[in-house]
Symmetry: C2
């Protein structure tokens, strides 16, 4: 079949798309997740958006693919303890959606589906092997090997944000000190930046926030850097170097040469990606430098929906 439903289950919003194998997203809707209303209500809402987005073409739809945070079972049927969805524990998500919609369903980790969406519709198209790093609230990862998601022994591979570059390093949401998420996850990056800016009351960024950096986000750094603010440029470059060091670790394990960067923080573009590339090239073993590239993903969040649709199209 040529059509499927792709759903991105986020802590804030549920997004659903009708995905066409060749044409991509035909139609898209978004509703609040309202996770506080409880598991059943959220499941009902997921069922409703799946039904709604495919209403006119129900018989032509291969099924529903859902991108969810958290650990996904090896059979892609259930999700375990997704962050930001309190009370979920282990949920047989695919069966619950089938019960509510009559459509077959599979679930996959959202960062993995970003990678799959990129592989079929985005910057990943030219590559058989690449790694997608999503710089959002956390740092997510998806590994594409031989054009498929690499899943590991139990389906949990690609927790790239929880790879450490400093065993004595900074703490974050991770179990691992010095996890790359502690340097590039949105909240931790903002905190590190605030710590730097506090030392420079003469800087425009200090003045912009009147010394109170609770609302500082990476986007403000990017804006300031684009205005020529050297401190912002340096902070972003420092984060980029850390990303480069993490990429060296991924590369030496996996022998993958192409790195595609997505997520909100990646809007800093070359301000992060160039220092990352330089730092990685300095530290990669020479053979691993051949064909090495760090590339932005331009699809934005649509990559996740396209990946979710692809999951259904290729496996249902």
């Amino acid at each position: 079949m040529m059509l499927s439903v792709g759903i991105d289950l986020g802590g804030t919003n549920i997004k659903a798309a009708l995905v066409h194998r060749e044409k991509g997203i035909l139609k898209q809707i978004s509703v609040p997740t309202d996770a506080d209303s409880g598991l059943e209500a959220t499941l009902d809402r997921l069922g409703r958006v799946a039904t709604e987005v495919s209403a006119e073409v129900k018989d032509d739809v291969a099924g529903v693919g859902i991108g969810a945070p958290g650990m996904i079972s090896l059979d892609r049927k259930s999700v375990q303890n997704p962050p930001n969805l309190p009370g979920w524990d282990v949920v047989p998500l695919a069966d619950e959606i089938t019960k509510r919609t009559g459509l077959k369903c599979l679930v996959e980790n959202d960062a993995n589906l970003m990678a799959l969406g990129s592989a079929r519709y985005g910057s990943g198209r030219p590559f058989e092997n690449f790694i997608m790093i999503t710089l959002g609230t956390g740092v997510g990862g998806g590994i594409i090997i031989d054009n498929k998601i690499f899943r590991g022994a139990t389906g949990a591979a690609g927790e790239l944000g929880h790879v450490s570059i400093d065993y004595q390093g900074a703490e974050c949401n991770s179990t691992v000190p010095g996890a790359i998420e502690a340097y590039l996850g949105q909240r931790f990056m903002s905190k590190r930046a605030a710590h730097e800016i506090e030392k420079h009351p003469e800087n425009d960024l200090y003045k912009q926030f009147s010394g109170d950096f609770k609302k500082l986000e990476p986007l403000h750094l990017t804006e300031a850097a684009n205005r020529g603010n050297q401190l912002a440029i340096d902070i972003l470059a420092d984060a980029g170097r850390m990303l480069g060091y993490a990429i060296v670790n991924y590369a030496h394990v996996l022998d993958v040469r192409k790195y595609i960067i997505s997520g909100g923080v990646s809007q800093a573009g070359d301000l992060i990606l160039k220092p990352a590339f330089k730092a990685a090239m300095e530290r990669l073993m020479p053979p691993f430098r051949t064909d090495f590239e760090i590339i932005p993903e331009l699809l934005g969040n649509e990559a996740a929906l396209l990946g979710a649709g692809t999951l259904a199209l290729e496996n249902l």
Copy 2:
């Protein structure tokens, strides 16, 4: 076929074995590599040992598998810049051996073949997915996914010794500061140990070497630790913790739960493996702790020969 030739091409010795698919090694010979005699002479020597070890059964031999240090081409035919083999550059090793022996031949990275040997004949037999970490002069790695060597985009995956646990860390033979090889590679581990022992002139190990630690090896630490020397116990435990931190990085990338440790330094056994296990369990994300194990490989160097034989048996 049931028979093959497995060769382990080391910087010091060439070892060759006649390998039986079910019975393992039937016969084994070893000659000095004598790398200084030049490429052609070493190739001739490789051809001669392959012919010699299979002389009585030549028509029943599937072919020759060779484990070599350095980068192996994706088609497993040639080897690039193997360390300790000066003047090798890019050598079409498989074709050179076929020319000399009339036997088909494939080449693979020696650490990958240790893993393959373990998968078929050693501690790896029960597992579909595991990682072999070889603690020798350097730190090598082999990744087994779905019962096969995981090779990555160009065949160079599994350079686990060059994964960093500290981006500002110790330097070693690696391009990467803080590479795990800087903590557990034989020479670097000895150096770090010497540095500690120097601070303790009252310690038995200091007296054993009269303060001159050029000849100190990890084996001496193991012996002293087994005699109850607390300093040696602490040094080995510290190395073990570093290994544990590196394993957390591998695990979060690959979602592999079984780690098999081989190589000379692994003779320290639980003195290293227990602290490694404890450190890893403290830092792994909770789902990754399920079924997590660190296990020694008991085959020793025979794993490499068995892996080389298996390479030929399963691919020629």
